[in-house]
Symmetry: C2
Subunit: 416 residues, 2 copies
Amino acid sequence: MIAEILSTGDEIRSGALVDSNSAHISRKLEEAGVEVVRHSCVGDELSALETIFKEIGGRSDVAIVTGGLGPTTDDLTAEATANAAGVELAMDEAARRSVEAFFEKRNYPMNPSNRKQAMLPKGAKCLHNPVGTAPGFMLKMDRCVFFFMPGVPFEMKRMLSDKVLPEIERLQGGTRGLFMVKTLGTFGLPESATGERVAGVMDAFPGIKLGLRAKFPEIQIKLYASGEDEKALNHMVEAATGWVVEKMGIRVFSVDGNSMEAVVGDLLREKCSTLAVAESCTGGLISNALTDVSGSSDYFLFSGVTYSNEAKVRVLGVSLDTLERYGAVHEETAKEMAEGTRHLANADYGLATTGIAGPTGGTDEKPVGTVCIGLATPEGVHAWRHLFAFGQRRMNKAIFAMTALDKLRRELLGIV
Amino acid sequence: MIAEILSTGDEIRSGALVDSNSAHISRKLEEAGVEVVRHSCVGDELSALETIFKEIGGRSDVAIVTGGLGPTTDDLTAEATANAAGVELAMDEAARRSVEAFFEKRNYPMNPSNRKQAMLPKGAKCLHNPVGTAPGFMLKMDRCVFFFMPGVPFEMKRMLSDKVLPEIERLQGGTRGLFMVKTLGTFGLPESATGERVAGVMDAFPGIKLGLRAKFPEIQIKLYASGEDEKALNHMVEAATGWVVEKMGIRVFSVDGNSMEAVVGDLLREKCSTLAVAESCTGGLISNALTDVSGSSDYFLFSGVTYSNEAKVRVLGVSLDTLERYGAVHEETAKEMAEGTRHLANADYGLATTGIAGPTGGTDEKPVGTVCIGLATPEGVHAWRHLFAFGQRRMNKAIFAMTALDKLRRELLGIV
């Protein structure tokens, strides 16, 4: 079964609003075993709507349309549908009750313009909207069954799960397939090298489709599979995952789509260990990422964002001598920062970054993109220096933070 | 001039990724006076790509296509374009130099698969990519000039402004009108209330189009205007801006699209003042935002991300007595945190947050969404308590951080 998604409305067409509805609908349809082949968006204009309804009607089995069901004059979906289907608009009893029920339940006065929302193309079946004024509807045009829903995300999501997906399941009859996707988080190779290394998975496992997604600085490897037999599908996806992990090695940090900060957090929790951070160039990004994870207070104790040298000395106890001899961006300074924060917060691990995020502040010896990372453990202290060439300040902060978290991950796994 | 936007890639088609590129491109094209009539998305599939290229080629003047230019086997844009245009793929010298320059500049070894990125359809003109491996290209098919760009947002944005928009301006010849957009950053009213308050601007200034954009927790008010006479246009936009600022008052924090953290940074720099932060519930988000601004080391000295109570006591000098009597989430604790970090870093201002971001940790007295903010100044110390009902952890962190920065902004402006 082949489906298309159509978003309507000038806000999306003009870019005033990012269309997040289509991604949600795609995911839900793919989970239901329906193949989504195209998304489109057109504005609030009768002829544009009619044209695209006719196009879709001629080529797809199912269409999910959002937007244009409101009470105002620029809500044209029902009228355009009637035109495309060559039928009249008429007051629909079920739709009228749906609109009236909304207002009665809330003791709101009903606006006369809301009556317009109950005018549906003849032959359409009303889809009740329990959380908004706009009823949806479904109608077959040409070879395609169209589902029309409101554009407001929470109204759309409710109608999709309660009304549309059950109707689609009915249309599918017994033919519904299974769909599976596995997301592996990796760090340490660029997208191109990652692609080369794992491209063979599609030959090794016919039936697996490979996708790469750059979520800077992470590269996600996605394995897609579809079929009829759940057990065989599971088995194939697991085997393909093992194959990819073998090719990528320690660079795979999660096989369940989890973020680096969640993975590090789980490792700390497993070891009943605690962490303190000292950030210079990353400016709080490491602690912000760690504390985005619910429950991070179990292991995350403290981060000292010591942007000034004075703060490095006063808060973390970095020695003036070290700063004078080596400068703020140096392995020795990173070590003292890591030890300082570990000691200050009474933590098991101390992780520190000091570097040059740019765009200014670079020198020939220490160009923009240089980062020194310190890691203090119960056994001792390590430091590393890296140079990244991304130029942009936010990208440097992001890859510095990811590199530091990855050092800690490898230490916790015993593979420094 | 009529334009379409096409996003390609299985991630967007399947809903794994929300397509934010299309909204950005739409806005930029409309600002350039180009009418965007349709967005589409298809997956990484040769025949789907060829089909839609032919459709668009027959009906639009300009097409902006993103994605599918990477080095891997699922990057099919160049091949599909060659098929649709009925030409061969060939090594393009400018594209080869663009790819090689990227690797040389960064001292990375070039992967053999990157050579594929220099294979363009014959007749295409290469668009140099200074920040990524994938060169773009442009090619006329049927009646339409196609521009192909990488899907990675920051590469796409750079290529759009540096290469594509100037080419489009050339295509437009002398017919292009002037277009102006003014972005006001506001904080403190929900989108609907903001809309009601400023809707009248379109009646007061015919020719001004109003747009609202929720960039949580900021609400941006956009004023669009177009015409022929630059001076008259400037005058109208300035007058409309004044009208909106009068309606919204102090809630407008910038009239040039600047972020809250940049505005606060400018105010600190103007006063030659320095800032130290103490973050509990915001977990580093405030310092991360502040240090995203280049040059922030001029005024930002230190943030103590004191997640544990022990760190609040040991690092910031919060008294055990206060913590025991009032708890960690309280105005008194926030005050001591603000004073503690100000003193520790020897800063002019100390800003502190302590609260409950959720999803767990709430009580009847202090539910999830509660935040206490402390602000220590050269003259004294203030504290506030707020309750937000967003539920989600990241949203709470974001609105807590924004509220804290807004308190500091108002203090720096003398309007607490």
